[in-house]
C-alpha cells in the first residue's frame, strides 16, 4: 500500500531562511566565545612548545660548551700532571745525585779522618812503646850493671838508646 510519494526536492522558504539565521547565530556564538578561546589555547601551547624547544636547544648548547670546557681542562690537567711527574722525577734524580755525592764526600772525609786518627794512635802507641821499652831497657841495664842509675843517667841512656834506635831504623 504505497502512500502518495513525497517530493524530497520540494523547496520551502521557511527552513531556508531559518538555516541562514540559525547558522548566523551559531557562527556569531562560536566566533565570539569558542574560537578565540581555542585559538588562544592552541597559540599558548605552540608558544610553550617553541619556548621549551628553544630552552632545550640552549641547554644542549650550554652542556656542549661545558663538556668542551671540561675536556679541555681534563687535557690540561693530564698535561700538567705529566709535567709534574717529569719534574718530580728530575728533582728526585737530582736530589739522589746530590745525596750520593755528599755521602761519597763524607765517606772520603771520614776515611781521611780515620787515617789521621789511626796515624796519631800509631804514633802514640809507638812513643809509649818506646818509653816502655826504654824503661825496660834501663831496668835490664841496671840489673846488669848492678847499680842504680840516677835519673839523669837514666835519661841520658834513654836518649842515647833512642838515638841509636833511630839511627838503626
Amino acid at each position: 500500500m504505497l502512500l502518495a510519494a513525497a517530493d524530497p526536492l520540494a523547496f520551502n522558504w521557511l527552513p531556508f531562511f531559518t538555516t541562514i539565521v540559525v547558522f548566523g547565530i551559531v557562527f556569531f556564538v562560536l566566533a565570539t566565545v569558542v574560537w578565540p578561546k581555542i585559538s588562544k589555547g592552541l597559540d599558548e601551547r605552540n608558544q610553550k612548545i617553541l619556548h621549551e624547544i628553544e630552552s632545550a636547544e640552549a641547554a644542549r648548547a650550554a652542556a656542549s660548551a661545558k663538556q668542551k670546557e671540561f675536556e679541555q681542562k681534563l687535557t690540561e690537567a693530564l698535561e700538567q700532571s705529566s709535567r709534574m711527574i717529569r719534574e718530580a722525577k728530575a728533582e728526585a734524580s737530582r736530589l739522589g745525585d746530590e745525596i750520593r755525592a755528599k755521602n761519597e764526600a763524607e765517606l772520603v772525609e771520614r776515611a781521611r779522618r780515620a787515617g789521621e786518627e789511626i796515624e796519631t794512635a800509631r804514633r802514640l802507641a809507638v812513643s809509649e812503646l818506646e818509653a816502655h821499652a826504654a824503661a825496660l831497657a834501663v831496668g835490664i841495664a841496671g840489673k846488669i850493671l848492678q847499680r842504680e842509675l840516677k835519673p839523669a843517667d837514666q835519661q841520658r841512656i834513654v836518649e842515647e838508646s833512642l838515638a841509636g834506635m833511630s839511627a838503626k831504623r
Partner: protein
C-alpha cells in the same frame, strides 16, 4: 500488540522517501528540520564551548599539564581542528586567508556534522513509538508529524541551500573585498591576461563570462545538492533495509522467513549506519573544504594551484 505495532510500522514505512522528507509540526508552518536545526545549533555551541574550556590553558597551579586538553572530548575536538586548520585550510587558502576564515569554515563543518550525525539517530521513530503506545494516531508517512524533534535536516534541500547561500555570500564578499569590482569582473572574464591581452582573446571573453557567471551559482548549488543527495541516498538505503522485514511480513511469508530477512537486513542496516557515520563526517568536510577552495579562488594570494600574487584569481 507487537504484531499491531509491526503492521502499523509496515503501513508507515511503505515509502522510505516519504518517511525521509521534511514534515510540518502538526498544523503549524514550522518544519521538523527547523527545530532539529535549532537543537543542533544549541548542541554544537554547548559542546564546542565545553571543548574550548578543555583546550584553553589551565591555571598555573596545574604546572605544565595546564597546556594539555583537560578532557578526552576536548582533545578529540582539538585534533580535528588542528587537522582541518593546519593540514587542509592553510595549504589551500594560505596562512592569511586561513586565519581570516577558519572560524567561519570550522563553524560550517561542525554545524553540518552535528546535523548529519543527529539525522542518523532515530529520534522521530522513538517519539512516534511513544505516541503509538499512548494511543495517538500514527502520522509518519504523511507530511505532518507528531514528533517535535529529529530527522536529517541536511536531507532537506531547503536547509542545504540555506547553507550554500551563506557560503555564496561569503565567497562573493571576499571576492569583491579582495579584488575590487574591477578585479571581480576581470575574474568573471577569465582574468587580467585576457582583459589586457590580444584583441583576439576578446572573442572568447563572452563565452568565459557566461561560463564564469553561471559558475558563480553552480558552485553553491553543487554544494547544496551534493550534501542533500548524499544524505537522502544514505538514509533511503538505510530505511529500505529496515523495511525488508515488514515487507516480508506483508507479503505473507512464514515467521522463519520473516525473521531471517529481518536479521539479515538488520545487520545490513547496522553496517550501513557505520558507513553513514563516515559519510556524515565526509560530507561535512567536503562542504567546508570546497567552501575554502571557492574563497581562496577569490584571492590574490599565491596558492598551491599556482595563482600568483597580485593577479586576480580565475
Amino acid at each position: 500488540m507487537s504484531f499491531q505495532l509491526a503492521t502499523t510500522l509496515l503501513a508507515s514505512e511503505a515509502d522510505p522517501v516519504s518517511h525521509l522528507v521534511d514534515k510540518q509540526l502538526g498544523d503549524s508552518p514550522v518544519m521538523l528540520s527547523m527545530v532539529t536545526m535549532v537543537v543542533c545549533a544549541a548542541l554544537v555551541c554547548y559542546l564546542l564551548a565545553r571543548a574550548a574550556r578543555a583546550i584553553s590553558t589551565g591555571p598555573v597551579s596545574m604546572g605544565n599539564k595546564r597546556y594539555l586538553p583537560a578532557t578526552k572530548f576536548g582533545a578529540t575536538i582539538e585534533v580535528m581542528i588542528l587537522y582541518l586548520r593546519d593540514q587542509m585550510l592553510t595549504p589551500v587558502m594560505g596562512e592569511r586567508l586561513a586565519k581570516k576564515y577558519d572560524g567561519f569554515l570550522l563553524s560550517l563543518f561542525f554545524f553540518i556534522l552535528m546535523l548529519n550525525i543527529v539525522g542518523l539517530i532515530p529520534f522521530i521513530e522513538v517519539q512516534e513509538f511513544i505516541y503509538f503506545l499512548r494511543g495517538l494516531p500514527f502520522s509518519m508517512a504523511e507530511h505532518q508529524t507528531n514528533a517535535i524533534f529529529g530527522g536529517a535536516a541536511t536531507a532537506s534541500i531547503s536547509v542545504t541551500a540555506g547553507l550554500a547561500i551563506v557560503t555564496f555570500v561569503v565567497v562573493q564578499v571576499q571576492g569583491l573585498r579582495e579584488l575590487g569590482v574591477k578585479g571581480w569582473l576581470e575574474h568573471l572574464c577569465g582574468g587580467a591576461d585576457i582583459v589586457h591581452g590580444s584583441v583576439f582573446l576578446w572573442l572568447i571573453v563572452p563565452i568565459i563570462f557566461v561560463v564564469e557567471f553561471v559558475g558563480l551559482f553552480v558552485k553553491p548549488a553543487a554544494l547544496a545538492i551534493r550534501l542533500f543527495a548524499n544524505m537522502v541516498a544514505g538514509h533511503t538505503l538505510l530505511l529500505t533495509l529496515t523495511m525488508f522485514g515488514t515487507m516480508a511480513l506483508k507479503a505473507g511469508l512464514g515467521m522463519f522467513a520473516v525473521s531471517s530477512i529481518t536479521v539479515v537486513s538488520g545487520v545490513g542496516a547496522v553496517l550501513i549506519t557505520f558507513l553513514e557515520v563516515f559519510v556524515a563526517l565526509l560530507q561535512a568536510f567536503i562542504f567546508m573544504f570546497l567552501s575554502s577552495v571557492f574563497i581562496s579562488l577569490m584571492a590574490h594570494e599565491e596558492h598551491a594551484d599556482g595563482h600568483a600574487e597580485g593577479a586576480p584569481a580565475h
